[in-house]
């Protein structure tokens, strides 16, 4: 009896939160879907009526569409590769006993607390600026021609900035995973004759697989919608126009809400395709 009562009471009490969250999700989604079928130009006459599938076909047939999908995937893939690889190395390093461990660990996490806009501006002006940036000074010190990073190597530069932001997250999760590894397993492997590299490959890496999966899945969700870093650096120029940025341009720069909304629906589809692939490739690690 008690359980039935408390269950219905629990439902009642959870209802506000559930309704709020549903509304939060459903209202924008429905509006996006609705606008994607309208010809809606806020500065050029407002809502001009039903557009059918025209927005969808126009968005895909635009010459900017496929390059933007490509740029999105390159950024996501590049950042994932860098953060996971460096994250594992850093986690291994931080797991070693050393002097000032606590301080070092906090410093490693620090970039995660810097706002994306701020970190992108810092990178753009203090490191990558071809005249005053640290990199430019470094290049000149060795007698090399400074690279203007954000125009000559725009995509790698953005990947670098975003990786710098996400590396702490990956390191932190992988570090806790490494710390949960049973020391006796490593000792057993040592007795079994496995040298350090093989211990890493056969014992540590498999132990980390689940944490790596979590890192990849969570990061992908956020990396697909990277925006601020592009907005304050290249403004989508030099091949850095991602799908998110393209939608932003369609809605705000071209003032075409209908077209942008259709793009938003494509972004949802792309995110789902990526998620499906990821779950196929790495998701099975979560079953254990």
């Amino acid at each position: 009896m008690a359980t039935r009562h408390s269950r219905s009471a629990a439902r009642l009490m959870m209802a506000p939160a559930v309704i709020l969250l549903l509304g939060w999700m459903l209202v924008p989604l429905t509006m996006t879907l609705w606008f994607s079928f309208r010809k809606y130009l806020p500065l050029r006459g407002g809502d001009l009526g039903w557009a059918g599938l025209e927005n969808y076909s126009r968005f895909v047939s635009s010459s900017a569409f496929w390059p933007s999908v490509q740029a999105t995937l390159i950024i996501v893939g590049g950042v994932l590769a860098i953060t996971v690889c460096l994250g594992i190395l850093l986690a291994l390093l931080l797991d070693q006993p050393m002097w000032g461990q606590g301080v070092v660990r906090i410093l490693v996490i620090a970039p995660f607390f810097v706002m994306p806009t701020v970190s992108a501006l810092v990178w753009k002006n203090m490191f990558m600026d071809p005249v005053n940036g640290l990199f430019a000074h470094l290049f000149k010190a060795f007698g090399a021609e400074p690279v203007s990073w954000l125009s000559q190597a725009a995509l790698p530069s953005i990947i670098l900035i975003v990786s710098w932001q996400w590396l702490p997250f990956a390191t932190l999760i992988l570090l806790t995973a490494i710390q949960s590894l049973d020391r006796e397993q490593l000792e057993a492997a040592e007795m079994d004759g496995a040298p350090p590299l093989k211990r890493f490959w056969h014992i540590i890496l498999p132990h980390l697989s689940r944490a790596v999966t979590v890192v990849i899945l969570i990061q992908t969700i956020f990396l697909l919608s990277v925006f601020a870093e592009i907005f304050v650096t290249t403004q989508g120029a030099f091949g850095t126009r991602t799908l998110t940025y393209l939608i932003f341009q369609r809605v705000l720069e071209s003032q075409n809400v209908g077209l942008g909304s259709a793009g938003g629906v494509y972004a949802i589809i792309l995110a789902n395709i990526v998620a499906l692939f990821l779950m196929r490739i790495v998701g099975k690690n979560l079953d254990r």
Binding site: A188, E190, M191, D192, G193, P206, R288
Partner: protein, 334 residues
């Protein structure tokens, strides 16, 4: 071959000396048990032999070759850990084959050895399972399998049965003993459980605070414990210690008598007291007797059918030839 010699081995962690200079020889083919209360350094000693800890000074020789600075993998020893330390992402087959793969043995030979080990340990049906799908006893056997495929010079067991339930522990104890009979390889076994030590060992090494208190066969330790510590540690229930007038009369500081060497009667005997708690095991009954004037409690082991109740008067007679005498320093006299 597996003769292991420790020559003045010491181990310190920082300023704390865990193992003071210690000499010990373990003969080839011997089943040696290190036993002692927790924190006595027995696991540390095993890890020193394994090479998982470096000695602070002294020398470890395996088959009269200096192994002090040889890395663990090349000492030719195999270890079974308390937590089993199986590799959770590998099947049982891969777990057992791991040391062979690391030794770059050829596939056919690996398969042959794994199959052989699996059949010895009744694991053939489980070869393709993961450790997570096995029971505690089966995991224990996989850990042993991983040790035996290497055909090591000696096996090291670090409290391997402490994670098993009582019934399984008795079973595994027999299996390990049988394995030793079959392989006749040197085995060093660490435990805090004196029953395991007594039942399995050829030779027991009793340790306290890193010191060797006594080395000997189980019956030697039982019959002639060298000091009070060994006398109290070996044997269950514990030996009774009597101080005072009675001990002085036979020229000792402390008199020891095991519970099983005291006869009980309801009519008359040398000592008498009141029965406190009695523990009925079916085969035997343990009486805890108070108010004897000899010690706070005297434990007596009697036949299972002897029916004293709480508060009853009980008379006891010790077997005179089974008395142990100890001097003021706790050392055995005679």
């Amino acid at each position: 071959m597996g003769r292991i010699t420790l020559d003045k081995v010491t181990k310190s962690f920082g300023a704390v000396e865990v193992i003071p200079p210690l000499d010990l020889t373990i003969e080839d083919g011997e089943f040696t048990v290190f036993v002692g209360p927790s924190g006595c350094g027995k696991s540390t000693l095993l890890r020193l032999i394994a090479g998982l800890e470096d000695v602070s000074s002294g020398q470890i020789r395996i088959d009269s070759k200096d192994a002090t600075d040889v890395p663990p993998a090349r000492r030719g020893l195999a270890m079974v850990f308390q937590s089993y330390a199986l590799y959770p992402h590998m099947s049982v087959r891969k777990n057992i084959a791991f040391p062979l793969r690391m030794a770059r043995m050829d596939r056919a030979e690996i398969d042959r050895r794994v199959e052989a080990a699996a059949s010895v340990l009744n694991l053939t049906d489980y070869l393709d399972r993961r450790p997570g799908q096995l029971s505690g006893g089966q995991r224990q056997r996989v850990a042993i399998g991983r040790a035996i495929v290497r055909e090591p010079a000696a096996f090291l067991f670090d409290e391997p049965l402490s994670n098993l339930d009582a019934a399984l522990r008795v079973g595994m104890r027999l299996e390990i003993s049988e394995l030793h009979e079959r392989l006749t390889t040197t085995m060093i076994y660490v435990t805090h459980d004196q029953v395991e030590a007594m039942t399995m060992a050829d030779r027991i090494v009793v340790l306290r605070a890193g010191h060797i208190e006594q080395v000997g066969s189980p019956l030697e330790l039982y019959r002639t414990p060298r000091n009070l510590f060994v006398a109290g540690f070996i044997g269950s229930p514990r030996m009774n210690f009597i101080e005072g007038e009675l001990a002085r009369r036979v020229g000792a500081h402390t008199l020891g008598i095991r519970p099983e060497h005291i006869a009980v009667s309801d009519s008359g005997g040398e000592w008498s007291g009141t029965v406190g708690v009695s523990e009925h095991l079916g085969s035997d009954t343990m009486f805890h007797v108070h108010g004897t004037g000899l010690a706070e409690t005297i434990t007596v082991r009697a036949d299972g059918e002897v029916g004293f109740k709480h508060g009853d008067r009980i008379h006891m007679t010790p077997r005179p030839d089974a008395m142990h005498r100890f001097d003021a320093a706790g050392l055995r006299i005679g």
